[in-house]
Amino acid sequence: MTASATPATAARLAAEEGRGRRTPTRRRRVQHPWAIVAFVGPFAAMFVLFYLIPIGVAVWQSLLVVEREGTYGTATEVFGGLRQYELVFQNEAFWTSVGRVLLFGIVQVPVMLALALLFALLLDSPLIRGKKFFRLAFFAPYAVPGVIAAIMWGFLYSPNLSPFQALTSQVNLLSADFVLWAIANVVTWVFVGYNMLIIYSTLLAIPQEIYEAARIDGAGQARIAWSIKIPLVRPALVLTAVLSIIGTLQLLAEPQTFRSFSSAVTSTYTPNMTIYATSSIPNVSLAAAFSVVLALATFILSFTFLRLTRRKGADA
């Protein structure tokens, strides 16, 4: 499948070509061939077994259809070409779920990254004290797995358990109107600190001398942040954005857990929940076709985003 080769190009772009092109290797005998096999072999074998072959199996499975002799006859799988993909494109529930996570991503990803950037800049500025404490406190939620975070917030939202009853008795955060944003808050809570740390590490790697001239010219912290720091952390922002887009399309643990708190979360609420529900019917061929379409959509979206941000970067 193309997904194995093409994201490589995307990752390369994201990597901002840190490493200079190596001089072409001269034709000569490879030294220590057995050592190389011993070092690369084990990983390569596991990678082929548990990355490449499963992807191949999924693509193959998505091309099969089940045929029965009569209504109760034995089922056999036969090659059906792209018939499953026709079903995918006719499946309204699936496309509704794709639309839902896109809406989620358009709102949640910018909010989360804006917060992460703000905190990273504040940590890197001389404006605050107790940096170590804030860094730890903001990063701590990342240690909470998605399922556990969803369980905690599910209780916090529920009208009779919540410490914020002033709010939860007025608005039902678990109703169909709000539950998507209630989940967005859970995801934001977990990942802001992680993204903050990525951006902050990039800021720490910038040598102080770069700011000297600006300081001498009398630029304040806000001005330094806007004109120097933000452009310099652009690669980190692009990376976090791409990772977040991928994560959003793959949303599963939090909404799946929320099903026990809110009846508004259906079994096909997100694409991955649709895949899971379809595979447990069981209709594995259709589930496989969903998976392939979702993987391609994820790839196209992150690649497009990388291209767009690249072009803008070139103008600057």
């Binding site: 194995s4 080769a5 994201p7 490589a8 390369r12 490493r19 200079g20 190596r22 290797t25 030294q31 061939p33 050592a35 070092f39 690369v40 084990p42 990983f43 596991m46 990678f47 548990f50 990355y51 992807i55 199996v57 905190f119 404006l127 605050i128 940096k131 406190a137 990063f139 939620p141 990342y142 240690a143 909470v144 797995p145 998605g146 399922v147 556990i148 369980i151 358990l161 410490p163 600190g193 951006i199 590490s201 720490l204 790697a205 040598p207 102080q208 300081r215 010219d217 806000a222 980190a236 990376l239 994560g247 793959q250 643990a253 799946q256 899971y276 595979s279 447990s280 594995v284 496989a288």
Partner: protein, 312 residues
């Protein structure tokens, strides 16, 4: 400007000089522009304080809720202690269904702990070879591995399920464990760090001494790469610990569940069995405390890894 943050400098820095302290504290104040006004200092601190509450109150609530009896959970102040029953609650949790919770914790430690150790060793060897040896196909292998970095664990769950059901190994320990030992991101990080921290001269010296390649790796190189390998281990540990789709789709037998999936299963039936609510809360608390402590202790390794990932 681009020379100042050249790629070699930045990739080497975290490896040889992992920073644990903030630099700004030591900055001399001479030559600094205008002093920051009280107003912007107060504003900045206020923002940070408000968000500290946002990040920590849910965890505080979980801690408080875990200490309460079922009745107190609904009738007392959710953010402060009532009758302190934490240890009774823990005892009841551990006794529930013949201690299945402990079994889940052990499973999680096996999947994530052992899985991440194996993944780190495999990734270290492969990344090291990609950095230190010249051979045809090297860049191709590296590019395919980079492609693997962009494939999220969730996207592989169904394909893995299809594969394992063909060989009838779903609902076994191996169905969750084996896929977890592959870490393309680990290979990427190991390569970057091996290039930065294992000098070729040292390898030559070791060869002159008559040590074999593999021996050199396990006695010399792996020590130099050690900080990077802790980072690889941490990332993979968290990836496995948080992976929800794989156990969800693979496992049916309760005794094979990792703790997150077990708590999810209990939480899904909380409406029929209200006594499970306390177990879910206490179980959640117990499962995240070790993680939070490890995270905080090893935080500088996180930053090392994240910084490298973002800059390259």
């Amino acid at each position: 400007m681009s020379t100042a943050i050249g790629p070699d400098a930045t990739s080497a820095m975290p490896a040889v000089n992992p920073r644990g302290v903030d630099r700004h504290g030591d900055m001399p104040s001479v030559g600094r522009g205008p002093r920051e006004s009280i107003l912007s200092r107060t504003g900045a601190m206020l923002v940070m304080a408000v968000f500290t509450l946002y990040f920590l109150v849910p965890i505080w609530w979980l801690l408080v809720a875990s200490t309460k009896s079922r009745g107190d959970l609904f009738s007392t102040n959710p953010l402060w202690f009532a009758d302190f029953r934490l240890f009774e609650n823990i005892g009841a949790l551990l006794a529930h269904r013949d201690g299945v919770y402990l079994k889940w914790i052990l499973n999680s430690l096996l999947y994530a702990g052992l899985g991440a150790v194996v993944a780190t060793i495999l990734a270290a060897m492969c990344g090291y070879a990609l950095a230190k040896y010249r051979f045809p196909g090297r860049e191709t292998i590296f590019n395919i591995v980079l492609g693997g970095v962009l494939v999220p664990a969730t996207a592989l769950a169904l394909p893995l399920f299809l594969l394992f059901s063909r060989v009838q190994l779903t609902d076994t320990f191996w169905a969750v464990f084996l896929p977890s030992v592959v870490s393309p991101f680990g290979v990427y990080l190991s390569r970057v760090f091996a290039e930065a921290s294992v000098p070729d001269e040292l390898l030559e010296a070791s060869r002159l001494d008559g040590a074999g390649e593999i021996r050199t790796f396990f006695t010399v190189s792996i020590r130099l790469m050690f900080p990077a390998l802790i980072t690889v281990f941490l990332f993979q540990f968290v990836t496995i610990w948080n992976n929800f789709f794989l156990p969800l789709i693979m496992l049916r037998s309760e005794e094979l569940f990792p703790v997150t999936y077990g708590l999810y299963a209990w939480n899904s039936t909380v409406n029929q069995f209200p006594e499970l609510r306390t177990y879910v809360l206490v179980g959640s608390l117990l499962s995240i405390i070790p993680l939070i402590i490890t995270f905080l202790l090893l935080q500088r390794y996180w930053r090392t890894g994240l910084g490298t990932g973002a800059l390259k």
